[in-house]
């Protein structure tokens, strides 16, 4: 076992992990932050996306020890300080960007990374950016609309 320290959603945390412990397992089992999901074993679904030093990564495809000293942000860190939903989360609710919700934490984290890089993405840019986030329920259109809305753009331009 080895010790790992990082900042998660603004709070310094320390824990004991094995070499093989994945970041997602440290977040979920070590810290009880079960908002980050695991939807596959092949690094393809994106349900586990979190931000490490401001960049979207698949927390199922990174060792916890690789995040030593890093700033990690998960879905639990997305709400506003008063507990109300962030603009992106609220837009997912308003535009029915989720059904079962399993993919949603990863979708929201990817959307936040996209908007940080590109504050007014086109519909095509949104769809392209979500290449690595799979959703089995919505058919994606409402997710794209939610991200357009969260970026202050007209949602009617998204194809039905």
């Amino acid at each position: 076992m080895a010790q790992v320290s990082m900042t998660v959603n603004g709070k310094p945390v320390t824990g004991e992990v094995e070499g093989r412990t994945l970041l997602v397992d440290f977040l979920r089992n070590g810290l009880g932050l079960t908002g980050t999901h695991v939807g596959c074993d092949t690094s393809q679904c994106g349900a586990c996306v979190v931000h490490v030093d401001g960049r979207a990564v698949k927390s199922c495809t990174m060792l916890a020890l690789e995040a030593e000293g890093a700033e990690v942000k998960t879905i639990e860190g997305m709400a506003n300080p008063d507990g109300s939903l962030s603009v992106i989360q609220q837009a997912f609710q308003d535009h029915h960007g989720l059904q079962c919700g399993f993919c949603t934490p990863g979708m929201v984290m990817s959307a936040a990374a996209l908007l940080a890089e590109n504050p007014k993405p086109t519909e095509a840019e949104i769809r392209h950016y979500l290449d690595g986030n799979l959703c089995r329920c919505t058919g994606y259109h409402n997710i794209v609309k939610a991200i357009l809305a969260a970026s202050g753009q007209d949602v009617s331009i998204a194809a039905e």
Partner: protein, 263 residues
Amino acid sequence: MYEFEFARPTSLAEALAALKAEDAQPLAGGQTLIPTLKQRLASPSVLVSLSAIEELKGVRREGDTLCIGAATTHAEVAREAAAHYPALAALAGGIGDPAVRNRGTIGGSLANNDPAACYPAAVLASGATVVTNAREIAADDFFQGLFTTALEEGEIITEVRFPIPQAANYQKFEQPASLFALVGVFVARFADGVRVAVTGASEEGVYRWESAEEALSKEFRPDALMGLRMNPANMIHDIHGTKEYRAHLVGVLTRRAVAAARG
């Protein structure tokens, strides 16, 4: 995953020392190695992370050569190579998805030499040099078939040096489930001739399409390829495409790459 120890050195010298342990293996972005470990297809004793070694990172120009540190991520190459070698930057920006690009590295991609990976096509078509801790390896000698390279046990890639071509383009026909190339073609035009490298198509891994190179070196136009056909005999055949389909795509993508490189 089987158990392993984990080391995160901050210098190349420390990494090389750690890699001397029996069954030690380097870990770069982990975007191939971690899924492999999850399937228990690898069982290293020690994983030696390259992610904290600053001397292995970054993009630097030296005259007509673009030097890229082995531990530079696909996302960094997409951003930092854009002003120097746009076709290479575009290739890096089209690998996988944003999260894969934020972790995956050029060194890891080349060491892995997946038959459907993108970077091998750029390295081979550019006639790049793969630099390791021990030597410099020409692209033509580096790739040795599926998942096989000239690297020796414990040898690590430190840098890749790309001669910058006059014009170049990469065309990737994406396999939408894996996001890898079903077929990808990189065309690079230099003062002394044209090089064409094909990934995703052959059972022997990335290769140069020499008859297309000859035709394009005489005349750099899509029409120069009319009548040239790739022999489907050694092509990959799977549920995503037949041999014939892949052979056909090689021709189509090469013509598109030439048209795009001409601008």
